[in-house]
Amino acid sequence: MLWPEVGFTKGEMIDYYARIADAILPHIRARPMTLKRYPNGVAEKHFYEKRCPKHRPDWVETAPIWSGRNEGEIDYCVCDDRATLIWMAQLASLELHPSLSRSKEIERPTVLAFDLDPGAPATIMECCTIALRLRELFGDLGLESFPKTSGSKGIQVYVPLNTKIAYEQTKPFARAVAQLLERQDPDLVVSRMAKNLRKGKVLVDWSQNDEHKTTVSVYSLRARERPTVSTPVEWKEVERALKREDPDLLSFEAGEVLKRVKKSGDLFAPVAELKQKLPDLEQAVR
């Protein structure tokens, strides 16, 4: 029983990952994966596992990634197929946190990501407002962006890049975007992590655009009271939720997500494929 409150079992979790495999694999394939494991369920202790467990079967792919902090390489698990995904699930890796880059080109992110995290009493509703502003901002720059729920309290907005770019460019860019949003609406937006600044505001977290950071994968379960999933949504769903002031419109559990994918396919598919280029701001400064 991994979600004791609602009686969602480990078997059901493994079943979910087995069935969502086709949708999730394009988004995690070839990326170093950090596992967030809950061996005794969501209410008990968890741990992050970067180093792929030694007892792994020999068909599980790994990628050696240099870690500055440990002065050495860490062999990350890489999830390229359904079998590996199921193996990870049976380790009670409820949450999958892949890198924003592929292991072969670890310094090159394939997306620009914003994690919109509400500080109470702000909720996912405020996140909707900011997500829509991000869409508008990127739209004005000629770039498409895609929203997903975090599966927890917030929303994440991904701007697919899939072109030659480095964190050295995406991170400052993301920061500039967050700062601009903050300056345009300082009562609602904060771009700095400090907890005391976040009350009633939305943290536009730009700092995950970093080689050493990870963001929860689309279609990953979350260790919340209910088996909610980080779910890709359509922009009009964000607008509708905001209009109706109904946060439940943006909360999806494992079963619902499987149905959504069956009905509408993978809404996040473009994130893995669409090639877009960030404007060169430094050029613009000169």
């Binding site: 004005d140 860019f173 345009q184 609602l188 700092s207 613009a284 400064v285 000169r286």
Partner: protein, 306 residues
């Protein structure tokens, strides 16, 4: 005169011998300064906050122990001070053991202990007694707020002291797993063993430390020497460099957006407008900026409405 790095006293039983501590190693590492390639300016490191890139002064830095990624337990300086080992000046001998009992893997940094003023005789006595007993003293002492274990032994009429690693710091080969620890019962060919032994015999000699040199360092120093002679020395830019401002990406982003939205720059949403730098207002004519301001205000109102 070499400078003592610490003074205290060896104590065991009723004996108390004031001593001074000297390092037994002079580090010969070749160290480099970092320079900017194009003009040789010295590189300075700054402590900046990841969150906003702002410089953080030493007083504003606390220590955080990462219990889980991005989750820290903050430990203040006061808290650290509280658990500092008591500042004692004693090298307290715990046991006397045989040198052969200590695996060299435990030894860390070597020091000499010399007699402090007036303690010459007691010191000589200790050296002689330990030499005759052929024993090594295992002692504890506190150096720079850290508790150390050390092995003291006489050599050529002086006491040497090597700090030692604590048992739990030494990695047992078993912890490294089968990559390091060979499987048992592997059949070894007697002839091969004999051949290996023969090879060892043929290379056996008395240990002469002066025979071995750090060849890389010698090579590096000679390279530096050659370049210094040849005058290809970079003159460091030593005057206080005026910091060049990092490009303001946010302003650039704002400009780009204003350009595509067809808005003049001074437009701003809500309260933010008041905080805008004068620079951007100055670029535009007042009348245009006013109209855009009201325009974007109404826009922001529309957005804020839920």
């Amino acid at each position: 005169m070499p400078r003592a790095i610490w003074s205290g006293s060896i104590s065991f039983g009723l004996l108390n011998v004031p001593v001074k501590l000297y390092s037994a190693v002079s580090r010969k590492n070749v160290s480099f300064r970092e320079l900017r390639e194009k003009d040789g300016s010295r590189i300075r490191h700054k402590r900046v906050a990841e969150a906003d890139g702002e410089e953080v002064s030493y007083e504003d830095i606390v220590k955080g122990y990462e219990v889980a990624p991005e989750q820290y337990v903050v430990i203040t300086r006061d808290e650290l001070e509280e658990i500092d080992p008591k500042k004692t000046r004693a090298i307290e001998i715990q046991d006397f053991v045989d040198l052969d009992d200590i695996d060299p893997i435990y030894f860390d940094h070597p020091y000499y202990l010399g007699p402090d003023k007036g303690a010459e005789k007691a010191y000589a006595l200790l050296v002689k007694a330990m030499g005759d007993a052929k024993k090594v003293a295992v002692a504890r002492f506190v150096l720079r707020n850290r508790e150390h274990l050390a092995a003291i032994r006489p050599a050529d009429n002086v006491l040497t002291m090597a700090t030692m690693r604590f048992a739990d710091e030494v990695v047992a080969p078993g912890e490294l797993g089968e990559d390091v620890v060979p499987e048992d019962g592997r059949k070894l060919d007697k002839r091969e063993v004999d051949m290996a032994k023969q090879l060892i015999d043929s290379l056996t000699a008395d240990f002469d430390p002066s025979k071995y040199h750090d060849e890389y360092r010698e090579e590096l120093l000679s390279l530096i020497d050659r370049k210094a002679q040849g005058k290809s020395v970079v003159e460091a830019v030593s005057e206080e460099p005026t910091p060049t401002k990092a490009p303001d990406l946010m302003a650039a982003l704002e400009e780009s957006l204003a350009a595509v939205r067809g808005e003049p720059l001074s437009g701003g949403d809500g309260d933010g407008a008041a905080k805008k730098p004068k620079r951007s207002t100055a670029k535009k004519s007042p009348s245009r900026s006013k109209s855009s301001q009201s325009k974007s205000r109404s826009r922001s109102k529309a957005k804020a409405a839920k």
